[in-house]
Symmetry: C3
Subunit: 336 residues, 3 copies
């Protein structure tokens, strides 16, 4: 039985393959009784559209159901600090809320974005661990400070669906401009995923936006084991040479992590980092565009790319639901 779904690194290649096979099977052959009477608790401490929708849909398709709790649904803001005297606004502490919400479900999904104050705290998943340590049920990471395994599994399936080579496939993870500093969860875990799949991965990013050394190292080790490679570049043309996939994503400056003003100053110069058709000139002819969504048009990517045949973002987003159905099935199904 699957107990936690937190990081693809916790799974063997065979286990990942089994999840993707199950996702494909559930797409082809629905099992509307698999999770009959089973409940998924969904706790969103950060906003959501795809995750919110796809988990609810996944549970219905498997015959179960879910409920959603987010702090803005009630007067009860949730306090998370340890040892605090709660005489302010928050009427409830996560130490009660999380176990109670978990107790109503057969499993729980939790989302809490990075606080982006301290890179060290975020890398250590300080907040997310505080939440999950309170759960004694199977749980799913619906995006934490550094992880987004549901997106990763969906992306792996998407690469398979489009027959992108595992070994020999060239995957470019490209930073893109965005008016706001965004978390590292998607770029860090996407890098690992492509490397783990055995692809030759280039992290294309301007200076100041290097991914943290431990993130790079984890990916390099995974690539070595799988017959792939990981390198970094700030040269668009070189990075895109022969690429099968460009996966665009904006993220915070790691040089100025938690320093909003310095980050803003640095990124303000970089608004030409908008993926556009000319980027693809050195790439493989059928090079595809991926993004986890939501994506800002004309900012992260040009309309022409997103609306053209290179874009597989809608297929990728639908795979979220299918990948999650596989996880839920293994977590709560009778054979689980």
């Amino acid at each position: 039985m699957l107990k936690t779904f937190n990081d693809l690194a916790d799974f063997s290649d065979e286990e990942i393959r089994a999840l993707i096979d199950l996702a494909n099977r559930l797409d082809a052959h629905p099992e509307p009784e698999a999770l009959k009477g089973k409940v998924l608790s969904l706790l969103f401490l950060s906003p959501s559209l795809r995750t919110l929708a796809s988990f609810q849909a996944a549970m219905v398709r498997l015959g179960g159901g879910s409920f959603v709790i987010s702090p803005d649904m009630s007067i009860h803001g949730l306090e998370s600090r340890h040892g605090i005297v709660m005489d302010g606004v928050a009427a409830e502490h996560i130490r009660e809320a999380v176990p109670v919400i978990a107790s109503y479900g057969n499993a729980i999904g939790i989302r809490a974005f990075a606080e982006r104050k301290s890179l060290e705290d975020d890398m250590a998943e300080k907040e997310f661990r505080a939440l999950t340590s309170l759960v004694d049920k199977p749980w799913i990471n619906m995006e934490s400070a550094m992880g987004h395994p549901c997106q990763n599994l969906a992306d792996w399936k998407t690469l398979d669906d489009y027959s992108v080579p595992a070994n020999g496939g060239k995957f470019v993870l490209s930073w893109a401009y965005h008016p706001k500093a965004l978390p590292l969860a998607v770029p860090a875990s996407t890098l690992y995923t492509a490397a783990r799949r055995g692809m030759d991965v280039t992290v294309l990013r301007p200076e100041g936006f290097e991914l943290p050394p431990s993130v790079m190292d984890k990916a390099r080790t995974a690539a070595e084991n799988a017959g792939g490679s990981v390198r970094e570049s700030d040269d668009r043309r070189e990075a895109m040479e022969g690429a099968h996939i460009i996966y665009a994503k904006s993220w915070s400056s790691t040089r100025h992590y938690g320093d909003r003003i310095a980050d803003q100053k640095l990124r303000n110069e970089l608004d030409d980092w908008c993926v556009d058709e000319p980027w693809f000139e050195p790439a493989a002819p059928d090079c595809r565009f991926m993004h986890c969504l939501p994506v800002r048009r004309g900012v992260v990517v040009a309309d022409g790319v997103l609306d053209g045949p290179r874009s597989i973002v809608i297929h990728e987003a639908r795979n979220r639901m299918l990948a999650q159905m596989a996880v839920l099935h293994q977590m709560m199904g009778d054979k689980a």
Copy 2:
């Protein structure tokens, strides 16, 4: 299989009859397995109470489920303008959000009220078409600028339930006072519905609140084909003569469409347009009061009417669920 439910005008009399028969059958003989494992995506770009509740209830009664997305549920405001550089507040464009949300369901319902800036744009369903053109699944109009087919089907069933004559039945669609300028969707589509049913329909409205010529023409043609008639009046007593039904609804001034100040000035004089018992004096003795709800008491209609035996608004509202169950059954059921 039913592919879209957008306008009663797209359906033959036999098809409308079949939907109402199915609604009655599902009321008498529940089918809690009909849509097992099926998902309805619900996208609300405008507020809702009845539609929100009745669609969710309908899916559960048929053994499936649904999820709700409304932009205020997340930081992601939805951008809809074409070719825009998204460097403002909105983090997601409808061109991604709508296909993704649709991809998680077996069908999707969409609500987007009239923008009420340009009558031409609203009459052309400019915004709603932009949304539905992005959907490759069966879809349901949950109220657009000019249409509200779920309300229309529920109203048709309500008229049947109360044995209101189709041919020879007199139906008064009456404007009513309201402090705010409201969309034309309900009056325009209700007029068509009553006319299509073969009734003799009078649009009772003050000057400046005439329904658009194309709306009147569409209803007149439908009435002619069905043995009914359509006329306009601003004379309450004449309009109500022998009426079997008064259907009250406030709507925007078409003379000043999109001009909030001019509309307000015109309507400020008209707060005596509150349906009250004396209105019924020339009507048929058992003349009924209908309204799509929500309704403002003491403004649109007097308490005495709404709380008295003439009012069938609760029955009418419950028929929303039953009518929608029929539509959903035809759209997603195994025989669909």
Copy 3:
């Protein structure tokens, strides 16, 4: 068939026992088909976390589903005043909204906290009766001005689960400090519950926070019938002597009910009413701590108590779901 679930006082001992037995049975032996295709309407006029989550989860576990309506979900604020001319913000009256929402379900749950303007009105459940009088379906009190029967049934089950003696068990209902004036629903109905169970109950509260005489009288009568007793005290040590349970809860000053400033002035002196380990010195060695949640740490109760072995609040909260499953099963199940 269970028609209303509003007050444990409406049920015989055998009926309460049957509900708890059913809750235990459904916990041990799930019945994921019991409420197939059945819908619970959930109307929240006051905020919620546990009730919101546990009712949704309960319906899924029994094979049905639910939908949630709260006024902040739409532009339609709900008007409740009688005979009002609705030309202000509220676009809908409870006289329409409640019957319509009820009509979409097989049963309805309603929550409306005390208005805390007039003790007389709140004691008479003026607002809640106005709401439930509009319902012609089975209904559940999800917390009204003076009642919270779902909490009460869950608490009764919790006392059973921990083998707390019914006769001879000592139950202390203790007022606790809180920065805000809270309703009387939980203390009043908890007092009744413990008394009804036959326990020796002490209401421990500072002066000015006496529970209303009719509340005390109802509990005393119940205790007498069940072989228990009810007394009041403002002496912590005396009250806790031999106690098996301390149930903490803050509530409004009844001396200054509805007078926010006077209440605040009185409670400001009482912030030492925070349940802490020294309170337990005269109690039974395994004296347990209960609270309905949400609870403010360091304000109502010290971290050490809440995180230690005395606290059974998570178990208590999970029993909400199980107790409600029993109620829903009796209300909507086929044998119901």
